[in-house]
Symmetry: D4
Subunit: 251 residues, 8 copies
């Protein structure tokens, strides 16, 4: 209940238009809802630009349909379904037809790409592509138009160097890399922008499903690189959104 | 070599003031230094607001004195010595007298606290204090005036709630927590600001020197929480600086 | 052999009704059976309210049928089959028709829900549902009527707060959470009741199949939270039963 | 703000005694303080019987003195200092003279041992003693008079069997064991009481500082054994207190 | 080249029947083959009673057929195929008809069960059965007639006690247990015989595929328990065979 | 209570020499003591040749003195103190003068070396010496006269080959090796005797304090190698004693 | 931009043939492209003899076809596809017909086997075969003719000894071994050649998918053994190629 | 026994100068000594250029003195003592005066630096210095004159680029790096030379004492990078020596 509504209610009580008991009842009946509502006030800016999202794995197609439907009805912002199987996507798009599919991600009500921030998503190898794509799709849902740099892993450092300018002038950079995850350190040394590193489960043997890249990114010799969970392209997009929303909010 | 200097040199060649051979020599003699210099151009904004820092452990007091001295001479920005032992601090402050000590951190030439960003550092327990203090000292070195919230761990959620407003309106939040690291998730749900989580080695038994908090923070159910290494208060400060510098740069 | 029976036997010997040699034989012939029997006496209260249970995975449907049959014949209390596959459930229900299925759990001879204890099962997310459901089904088998709180994870702390009263007045609380498992700490700070935390294998990447939640729960900053194994909803129900049986026994 | 106070306020608004704006201000200004205060009400029973505790390691003797002093002033229940070094204990007892030391634990204002619950603390080996002692000291602080069974590890199962009766009739059992931690399983099979298992860092080689015992206890084949963190005798005592307080509350 | 052959060769040289140069050539030409042959002499007793064995997983049915065939032709002792799939077993038995199947193990040319040693195989739960069965089948291949004790896990210690005599008088005991593996410690305390512990991958959650049982068995508080790899029933049988062969050899 | 004593008691009841009530009391009063006593009968052969042992670390010198004293008084077999510090050894030898020190092990009442079994202790490197020495001292305490082979690691396989005969004809072989622990596999291939492998914490970097050797030994490609815990020379000696006692018992 | 070109450009500026501004533009416009190009010069020798390779897993057959096609067009050296599934191989060979398949590896344009270096690939067991085969196929692609030694694991050390000469005189040795990986240490002690150890995921239980062999090889007591990732036969071949190319380059 | 000696013996038998039986006895009596001797022949080239080395930690100064003395007497090549403490170095240099100390390494009889191979040792940070220095000292002992590149970590990629030429033309490159170990990948992409990566225990938090760098290097996206154990500068030097000795041998 926002201050205005509260004032209005109390004014109505003062004016005799609402009984004190009714007002008490209204306020009392939903103390937590109210509290929640009040908190929703705090949450509203929080949620501005933050996606309503559904994580596909472990859910039946029916559950996906239902939850996506609920989210579409419960708000008017973007809704995202991630890591959806073919079957899940088929079912959900059948029920909620206007979703846009990118890889394993489906987005409804993406904002039009009007945000000015320059976001770079650098992926070390082609197999880091799906994670980068998830990140990109989620950023697009919020109206960003990120620049994708693919296959710029450090074993061929010359592939990365042409993009130094783009990295140096970015508002935020997401680095998706598996195996030894060294790209995060190199990129972190080439830009002063916030760097969000996403370890990917790309690789085999001692890559250990992303653990090696995770540890390497957390131990990066580049100052101030921040890390999200393995394969969490969605989380990286959210971290970028946090960075940019605040900035926009202050402008 | 920046474009102006390059144009100037070439103009001098064209004007006959500089011999072509001399110019070639100058350009050729330092291809990498030049390249490096060019890159320093990219690096200069990168380094703006990024600390020149020395990590104390494993160095002799003499080495600390020497490296700090070098950094003080090589630039005019803040210089930071972290996790310095008593002996290291004594030696370094003896040699470079105007450093300011906070816990195990020493800062020289801190910028005056003129930056407007509202940074919150939330520490779960009193034993997370040293990590929070390191983060705070480094942020102060850059002219931030962060707000410290201490002892706001989730086992007493009522201790955190009075600060919801501060969290919701922050430009960036650092969360330092050991043990199960749950504070990052709770804070992440209470603010839309960038959240940098620092797992600390606080705790015992199954806290495993910060690994439990690290894993928990990486697995946070709050969207977009980003994580730095265990006890890395310095890294969190750098991540915040990256966030705020970019914002400032665009304003 | 209880004291009365022993006295009786010895009296019969003294009276000449039983030969000393026969008595010796009786006592000697079954030292361990006797011991076992005696121990069964100790076990009887132990088993009161503790389920006869079969863990489905790794057993053939035929083995499930046989073991459930044996347990149904060997006692008259509740019998529980957990984590049964579709095939296992079909076979077992075909053979032992009066079982009641909840998710992957089947219960025979559930006690009528007459127990007065207020048990709360709090699940952090919808994907923790199956673990919470297993716990609930087993508790119901013993005559409890637990209160389920679903989707009360800490990233939206406002979802949990309306239930503070229920938590504070519970006789025991089970917390099922995956990912970073922070809910256990928050709940542990909101109730003085025994809290049994069940880490779930929910989550991905650094959730590591429940290990992160497990470590986080064991390291909880809330005092006195006790933990069972990953996904062990059955074990949590048994721990609650231990707590409540003792209490009932003393009343 | 309780319903009565709320009704009263609204009635005053209706009566014109309080301005609507003032009421709005009052309601708006203190939602969280109010909430916090209300929550303290929930916390009060929660804290009944739960210790105010200080964990020694990592604190200076001065910090220990200060925190213990604060806790002694801030309430009138038991105050516990755990894992205190010799130096810490000396300093704290010098400042707060009436503490009672048991091993590395100091207790102030222990309740008189009047609680009727039968608590058993079973320790596998002599080196598990310090953990068992910490648990015992904390339980004594709350007025329990636990029964200690020492050196009853499973390699000599005959040492445990004389205590079967005590285990079977206990209200709660704490099992402290290192190495392979098997005692928890054996005890869990001998009693229907709540069993709180504490893995200890006792042992060497593959005991891995308590990890082996921890995993073994979490994987116990005895149903419903619950586990706290490694060496966490304090946590086990708190878990027992949770169990018994609730029981007492319902009686 | 055995001593007799060597003497014969040298005698032939002495007698002039073989040229010294030819003898030198013969001896020199096959130094390693010769050495190998000599070493086979040492290997022969080694292999007495040790199985020729094929590990099924990862081999095609055709490869199984070929390798078993080779082993059957290359010697006259028992041949064992372990962990064979249905398809592998079908193919191999089709080709080498007289194999005897027990679970996933097939044995050809088992020795008649004439060995006098009393071997006990104790399995904690029914799901440890396949590992115990593999061990049993291999032991039977060597002419042992082991005693199987099933479902004697420590949570019901009364189930084990009737077998104390059998354990105490055994020549060797194999303990197969998963979950927390506590049976090894209890059995180790009940017998002076060699105890070979086999951790099994039985269990779920924190059993971690046998790692928990493995660590627990290696950390057993019972003196002198020796451990083989996870699920390695075959290895346990071989360890027992080593023990008993030596004994037989010395008798 | 053995059968004869039981018959006698019952006969006395039948004869009226003992009251039935008194007999009941006697039988009832000491069921567990009796049971324990009976079990001690089983334990006696178990303990034959098994050491009474004290593990030094974590005990005060006074505790070592007391426990050793107790063991010396409570029996007449060998008593062993392992991994004793200089201070512990000084204190204990001062109190119990006739102990014999080998490295960090002290033995009292060692049996005279009359046992005929040929035990080989093979140590890979000089730094595995202390573990091999502990094993040797404990075996000597039981009257074995083991053969030590030092510095026979596999990187110089020629150092091991001269001892092939000794290995092939041994009654049991203990292999102590750190780093990659390969010696166990090589020795296991050279002898049919029972092989007890002891991983040692020798090595650095990826030796991980013995874990690498432990895993390697458990995964040995040599059939039937059995493993004890890291650095557990004592446990290896006990395992050998189990092997040889049984053999001796059957002779 | 090489020195000559630079001098030429500057001379043209001095001569007035090129405007200073144009020269500045030219120099400024392509610093990285130029640099990149220059670096390609450094890369050319680097790539000589190094394979253009595609890692199959995680790619669709279509992607494999496309990438292989690109590599075939983009150069004229060998192209390698590793770990290709049946389906991938079928598709790729259909599109690019002249590939030669060995196991799961396909090679196009293998160099004729003209290189003189003696490379030995020693595989411990038959199940290490696929890894050894991958290594062999890649080496063959570069014109090596490696010697394969199969089934020479250390449990039967006599199988390895006949090949001592081949090992001692090799130019490089690759050792592929799973389980405990001991073969690397034994081979490392038998040759002065570079030894590249490849841990394989062969084995079960405590082999932990190659981790045990990996750790063992890294901890090898043989000096100077170098290790590549688990199952990385391709990487071992590349390491050998690095060794031999340099040698060839210097000859 | 070399061919000539064998021929001579057999000729003596043929001539009647030696009895056949005596010859048989001689040949039979020393098969392994002979074999050993023969193998020493194989070992001699193996040891050429490989250091006689002593690892300091865990040895008393006296043991160091003795072992170094033995090695100095037993050959005439270089002798190396690594990771020696101050005390060890003092004692050893006192006894064997002509050793040359570099950091914690002492070398006796270093070969004069005459080897032509260009070896580069690249260290990521100053704290990787001791490992690089150990590697350098051992290489110098063999007559190499390696080029040290210090502080060329990837966070400042411009520091590495001036050395691209040196890397591209090296005969072998050693990369010492801690933290995330990314330098190995970058260097591996800049040179076709053999790259030996040494993870160092440099770093804190998630560097996990070198494990992160180890895993990263093993997972390097640069083809054919080979890895030695953590901090094993000595091992890297030996690996380089293997590479270069073979090359020299073939020249």
């Amino acid at each position: 209940m926002d201050p205005a509504a509260l004032s209005e209610l109390l004014a109505a009580v003062a004016a005799g238009d609402v009984e004190a008991a009714d007002a008490a009842e209204r306020l009392r009946r939903l103390p937590y809802a109210d509290l929640g509502f009040a908190r929703v006030d705090h949450h509203r800016p929080l949620r501005q630009g933050m996606p309503e999202a559904v994580y596909g794995p472990g859910k039946t197609p029916e559950q996906c349909v239902a939850i996506v439907g609920e989210l579409l009805q419960g708000g008017d912002g973007p809704v995202v379904l991630t890591r959806a199987s073919d079957e899940q996507r088929a079912a959900v798009l059948d029920a909620h037809a206007d979703g846009v599919t990118t890889g394993a991600t489906v987005v409804w009500r993406a904002l039009s790409p009007a945000r000015p921030e320059r976001i770079v998503i650098a992926a070390a190898g082609t197999s880091d592509g799906p994670v980068a794509a998830e990140c990109e799709a989620v950023l697009c849902a919020f109206g960003f138009a990120p620049l994708r740099l693919d296959d710029v892993g450090v074993a061929g450092i010359h592939r990365l160097l042409p993009h130094v300018e783009a990295l140096a002038t970015a508002d935020a950079v997401v680095v998706a890399a598996g195996m030894e995850g060294a790209l995060a350190s190199v990129v972190g040394g080439l830009t002063a922008a916030p760097v969000i590193a996403v370890p990917t489960s790309t690789g085999y043997g001692t890559a250990f499903g992303g653990v090696t890249a995770l540890l390497a990114m957390l131990s990066s010799c580049a100052q101030g690189v921040a890390v999200v969970g393995i394969d969490n392209g969605f989380g990286a997009a959210c971290a970028v959104t946090r960075v940019c929303n605040q900035r926009a909010g202050r402008a």
